[in-house]
């Protein structure tokens, strides 16, 4: 059976937590067991995930033709796969072909995610071999102001949702004369439908370290903090391990890569507060306080962590910086449309057949993402709506699916691209319930500092309940509208300020659901083995 594999077969099994949630560890164990038993000569490498999450656990075998994929592989499939000659890339119903050539992946333009799923996240050799450190070396060879200019010229905007140009923020920090400055990475990815930050931290942690180090050089910072939410224990562990390895290799610490740059990085773990994804709340939390929002000004770039000038960027923003420096501003800037430059890492989640990571230039339409890449719903029922940009983003109907992904085009349509998370719902969804949930979530997670958010959200739940119950519907709809105005205009931060967006979009696009008595359709039960595998395109 094992007559052709004289050499050790290299097999990749993701260590990404989504892959682990559907059995990747057990698959890896089964493969190791076969090797220990002496039946097969297998070296198992735990890579990140390619982001084709419906195919997880996706096992890849290195062959002379390329890496051949099998998936989704259940632990119980391993024995049969080995017997069928998986280690030689042999045919099997779970065989997907050469992974790099799978249309779903090949159509994308992976810039930030180029290495993720390909390499062992904690291997420095893999990292350097696949282009790691090129950005940092390029940055260290240049003056800080030139690095800031490069980032500004690239058009890179903050990927955390607000879309503020990264270079402008950095320029402000560089312009401050303080001795002590900080770089803070906001890794409190609390929005439903987003998981790209997690995948970066678990799948390519050195890239984030490199990006933060470039930021430190660019603005003159000596300390960095990475604030990771506690719901991501794998990301915390991987980042801590990677930081330790980076220190050993002189990628962090004193005189980084032989330069004059001193910079060290610390991981801080959140404690289950959604609001700490807001940058000033995160700073308060890092200082050991309640994560309440700060009024701005002063902006964190001038008075940030412990009152010092601070760069605060999202994981994806900082993770994209190395490639901007390595390839130059022009190469990055040429991707995208209008003022939305470069690529966006779209995250397809919710009730979707082919969920995962689609990194592509801005300008792709919702329809392409949901129907072409996403393959429609997981339940097989018609798509009814997609919530774009997290729990504070708009619910969009299918009639708006030709909208291009572009910050300004979305804003003009009363929606937001946000961080590029898409959550798909089928026709069983009750939009009045979703609008109510938006208010309920705000009430639960509000930091409580400002009244429009703290009290407005509680009142919002009550008003929606009255509307659905048919009590003075028109008056209550007018009241809700007024409340939404107040929350939008009067809240200190985006939590209260944007909660009206999902609420209003639900009312605008799905008014019938607020008439009361919408029949709750039976949701198709999801089975543990129900992942669909047909048609990987």
């Amino acid at each position: 059976m094992n007559n052709t594999s004289q050499a050790t077969a290299k097999v990749y099994v993701p260590r990404d937590s989504a892959a682990r949630s559907v059995g990747a560890d057990e698959v890896a164990d089964a493969l190791q067991l076969a090797a220990v038993g002496g039946d097969f000569d297998v070296e198992v490498v735990r890579n990140g995930s390619r982001g084709m999450l419906w195919l997880e656990p996706l096992v890849e075998v290195v062959t002379p033709q390329g890496r051949v994929g099998y998936g989704p592989v259940a632990p119980s499939d391993v024995e049969e796969l080995l017997a069928a000659g998986m280690l030689d890339g042999a045919d099997h119903p779970l065989r997907l072909g050469i992974v790099d050539e799978l249309p779903w992946l090949a159509r994308q333009n992976r810039v930030t995610f180029a290495r993720i799923g390909v390499t062992d996240p904690l291997s420095t050799e893999d990292y350097v071999e696949h282009g790691g450190l090129a950005g940092l070396k390029a940055a260290l060879a240049r003056a800080p102001e030139d690095v800031v200019t490069e980032v500004t010229d690239s058009g890179l905007r903050g990927r955390g949702g607000a879309g503020f140009p990264a270079g402008i923020k950095w320029k402000t920090v560089l312009g401050c004369t303080d001795e002590l400055k900080f770089v803070c990475c906001n890794a409190d990815e609390g929005d439903s439908g987003t998981f790209a930050d997690r995948m970066v931290m678990e799948g390519d942690p050195f890239m984030l370290i490199e990006g933060m180090t470039i930021a430190a050089h660019a603005v003159g910072a000596s300390e960095g903090y990475l604030y990771i939410r506690s719901e991501y224990p794998d990301a915390v562990a991987t980042m801590r391990a990677a930081i330790g390895i980076a220190r050993e290799h002189g990628w962090l610490g004193k005189g980084i890569l032989g330069s004059a740059l001193d910079f060290d990085l610390h991981v801080r773990v959140g404690a289950g507060a959604y609001i700490c994804g807001e940058e000033t709340s995160m700073l308060e939390s890092l200082e050991g306080k309640r994560g309440t929002v700060r009024a701005k000004p002063p902006i964190p770039a001038i008075e940030g962590l412990f009152g010092k000038p601070t760069v605060v960027n999202n994981v994806l923003t900082l993770a994209t910086v190395p490639v901007v420096l390595a390839d130059g501003a022009k190469a990055y800037q040429e991707l995208g449309v209008e003022r939305s430059r470069g690529t966006q890492v779209f995250q397809l989640g919710g009730n979707i057949a082919h969920g995962g990571i689609v990194e592509t230039a801005f300008g792709v339409t919702l329809r392409e993402l949901v129907e072409d890449y996403g393959g429609g719903t997981f339940s097989g029922r018609p798509v009814r709506t997609v919530q774009v940009g997290g729990p504070l983003g708009a619910y969009l109907p299918t009639s708006m699916f030709d909208l291009p992904m572009d910050y300004e085009a979305f804003a003009a349509a009363g929606a937001m691209v946000g961080h590029g998370g898409l959550v798909v719902f089928d026709d069983s969804v009750d939009m009045a319930a979703q609008a109510r949930f938006a208010m309920e979530f705000c009430a639960e997670e509000s930091c409580g500092k400002c009244t429009p958010c703290r009290v407005g959200s509680v009142r919002g739940v009550e008003v929606i309940d009255r509307i659905v119950a048919g009590e003075h519907r028109d008056e209550n709809l007018a009241l809700l509208e007024d409340l939404c105005d107040l929350m939008t205009d009067g809240s200190l931060c985006a939590m209260g300020g944007l909660t009206p967006m999902p609420v209003r979009s639900a009312i605008t696009h799905f008014p019938d659901d607020f008439l009361g008595g919408r029949r709750t359709l039976e949701i198709q039960p999801v089975t543990a083995t129900g992942t669909r595998t047909e048609g990987t395109a």
């Binding site: 937590s17 989504a18 682990r20 949630s21 559907v22 999450l53 419906w54 997880e56 990815e189 609390g190 929005d191 439903s192 439908g193 987003t194 998981f195 506690s230 719901e231 801080r268 773990v269 959140g270 404690a271 289950g272 507060a273 959604y274 939390s285 890092l286 200082e287 050991g288 306080k289 309640r290 994560g291 412990f306 995250q347 989640g349 919710g350 979707i352 969920g355 995962g356 997981f378 339940s379 919530q387 729990p391 998370g421 959550v423 719902f425 089928d426 969804v429 979703q434 949930f437 979530f441 639960e444 997670e445 930091c447 949701i523 039960p525 999801v526 089975t527 543990a528 129900g530 992942t531």
Partner: protein, 159 residues
Amino acid sequence: MTTSGSDVTVEHVVRRVAARHRGERGALLPVLHAVQAELGHVPQEAIPVLADEFNLSRADVHGVVTFYHDFRREPAGRTTVRICRAEACQALGANSLVGYAREAGLSLGETTADGAVTVEQVFCLGNCALGPAVEVNGRLHGRVSTAGLGAILNGTVSS
């Protein structure tokens, strides 16, 4: 401060943990995490000790401990099951998992009388493409059906 045995233990743990984090800036959250990791929760007796260690008022420390969902004032059950109720998991029936748990007599945020299980809600485990997601003692499970949750709650799925 009283001098019962448990107070001495709590104080000892808190002071030891605080000493370990002394060199860190704004170390209260890491210390609270470490105290909870050792004691299973942040007991009331820890509050004055922390206030002393960090030169804060007891009210300040109390404010921080109660602000964050993670910090427990009481110990959790031997198994903690967290059901994700964020939108992506809702789209795949997360609420039916909550309903199933309720029917099994497990209310969100409560621990069973025998101390076996605590069931909680969580907003987003970052497994949005493989929902509904449930976390069991820190271990993430994807595509969880009601039957799957039943197996988890019965202890037949290892965590």
